[in-house]
Symmetry: C2
Subunit: 366 residues, 2 copies
């Protein structure tokens, strides 16, 4: 039975999605304000499980695209992702029946909700990344045969671009990234038009409600003075993700970050308080790999998130600062993200990393 997303759900959902967003997907704050405003105005957002989507429904993925460092300075009005949807509908000659998030992430959990609320259509409980990834071809939709094209892109001036590269999702990413860079570093997109049947076959199911549960579990642990990290690990064990563990607790002692080619790239080093052990994280919008003394502790597509050591609030890569006291938390990915075809698209080699993929359960057993 479909449920509604309520005002109370939003902070938990944003928190949980930011955790799954592995440092990417943008800061949720502005998105949360925009969605709250819609709900306060009386609009509702119906959440459908993937099973509840009609096979013939037209479903479209929604997101912002670009460098998260830019989004926090160039605040969206909220019209941009809706214009992207309308532009895609015009191209397709058909109204879209439901929205699905492109990825899990702070802002990118809120943008699809905003579009659903504004357009008065439901949102599907699932997404195409099961976490956040920096590039548009890195979606399970594409891994399992759906074309990302046509994609509609909208900027803060209401200017639009529609790109159609047929089945070539990597070229779609390449052109869309070029447009986004020239739009000022951030844009809002509607992409991967697909049928409900394709959603059932290719989406990672239940990630919205999982994000909501994980965000709630952090909050409730804090309220009841329990360890939120233990609570998170327990919740993940009950999910399709399977496991979560703290890799290191310590202090951020170094952050190197640059915005180039439309991405935020860099490294962050976290050292234990006694200074004896340090873990270095490498990121491209999202955390890709955690190294300790040259040894891999966790690697993409498994999830690596940095959380405030006290509150367990996720910290996005663009918000990492020297001196923050944090825990590095690693999670295993669902089986649909670990197939050979999935690893080819978003495994370590897709990011130019030399370390092979090894499940985090093997690298860092709980």
């Amino acid at each position: 039975m479909p449920t509604d997303i309520t005002l109370d759900d939003l902070p938990d959902l944003a928190r949980g999605a930011a955790l799954l967003g592995t440092g990417g997907g943008g800061d949720p704050y502005i998105g949360l304000l925009l969605v709250s405003e819609e709900l306060r105005r009386g609009r509702t957002i119906r959440l459908l499980t993937t099973d509840e989507v009609d096979d013939d429904d037209l479903v479209v993925a929604s997101a912002f695209m670009g460098a998260p460092t830019v989004v926090v300075e160039k605040i969206p009005s909220g019209d941009e992702p809706v214009t992207a949807l309308r532009t895609l509908e015009r191209r397709l000659g058909r109204a879209v029946d439901a929205i699905i998030p492109m990825e899990c992430g702070g802002l990118n959990s809120m943008i699809p909700l905003l579009v659903a609320a504004r357009a008065g259509i439901p949102i599907v409980d699932g997404d195409g990344m099961g976490r956040a990834f920096p590039e548009l071809q890195m979606e399970t939709f594409g891994v399992y045969g759906v074309s990302g094209s046509p994609i509609a892109i909208c900027d803060s001036n209401g200017h639009t671009t529609v790109i159609d590269t047929g089945v070539d999702n990597k070229q779609m990413e390449w052109l869309a990234r070029g447009v986004t860079i020239r739009m000022g570093g951030v844009s809002y997109i509607a992409e991967y038009p697909m049928t409900g049947a394709e959603v059932k076959r290719t989406a990672i199911p239940g990630t919205m409600s999982l994000a909501l549960a994980l965000g709630r579990c952090i909050r409730e642990a804090r309220e009841h003075h329990r360890d939120p990290f233990d609570a998170l690990s327990q919740a993940l064990e009950r999910s399709i993700y399977g496991s979560g563990r703290v890799l290191l607790e310590g202090k951020v002692i170094d952050v190197e970050r640059s915005s180039s080619d439309g991405f935020v790239r860099g490294t962050a080093t976290v050292s234990t308080f006694d200074g004896d052990t340090a873990v270095t994280l490498t990121f491209q919008n999202e955390h890709l790999v955690a190294h300790h003394d040259g040894r891999v502790l966790a690697i993409v597509p498994d999830l690596i998130s940095v959380l405030d050591a006290q509150t367990a609030n996720p910290i996005t890569t663009e918000s990492l600062r020297y001196g923050q006291r944090v825990k590095i938390f690693a999670m295993s990915t669902p089986p649909i993200m670990r197939t050979p075809e999935a690893l080819e698209v978003f495994g370590p080699q897709a990011f130019g990393l030399h370390d092979p993929w090894t499940p985090v359960e093997v690298l860092a057993p709980v």
Copy 2:
């Protein structure tokens, strides 16, 4: 009465358009082959004067876009500009009634003919630049109020992009250039959808037949052992352009050229055979200004072309080579290209040049 473009016309037209193309607009050779092939197959191309276009007709400008240096290495199949037209028609929800060239230029006189032949629609005798310019906002269509958007762009893989920046033609150029660069440096476009009434108000009329006349005049002068440069000057005096003169005859002694940001930029220096006098040309795809000893001899939007000293064949900027014996030929522009609003869009300052615009008749009287 409409006339047909014949196989015999094509070399003359390409030669004359390349002359008006001021070094840009691409090498015509491959385009000439493609159009000839269509005519040999029995297709016809009807040329309409601007007066013969119905006020309610939908007219679209056609061209290749990008660095001419790339076009000569990345040969088009001929499908690309037709796909651009079809993509724009799909966006507009309406069939296009006639094609108009975006600019005068070697390849860019042939591409619109190819589209007209393939689509079976007429081509308008006129264009939006009266010469070639490197950027899409530099069209009289835009100067006098027509929006370039939506623009459809197609690459050699059949991948398409549709950009809509409303009335902002400069931003359209900026985004389209970014897409073209990522498409490999060259693309094929359909843009400035407009009514026949708008064509009459904003196009530079008669430039196809003028190009044909100029190209023919060069050939006939050669055949009859007359000076082609005298013949050109006389033909220009009878046209809306008004005048043409040789600025210098000599040898190319230096060419500096680089492809960057999707353009071919550089300088070329031509010295008299006795080495006493040299003129330096600065170009961005097209020749922008001719300097002698710090003094301006001709400056954009007036036309500067480099022609083979013997044959009067126009030489594109990407084909300039050390040792070529050439004449630098400068032409005045029609009044529609010299209004304050036109000079603001494609006068010297639009290219970052510091010299003010002065008519070539004043700088270098015949």
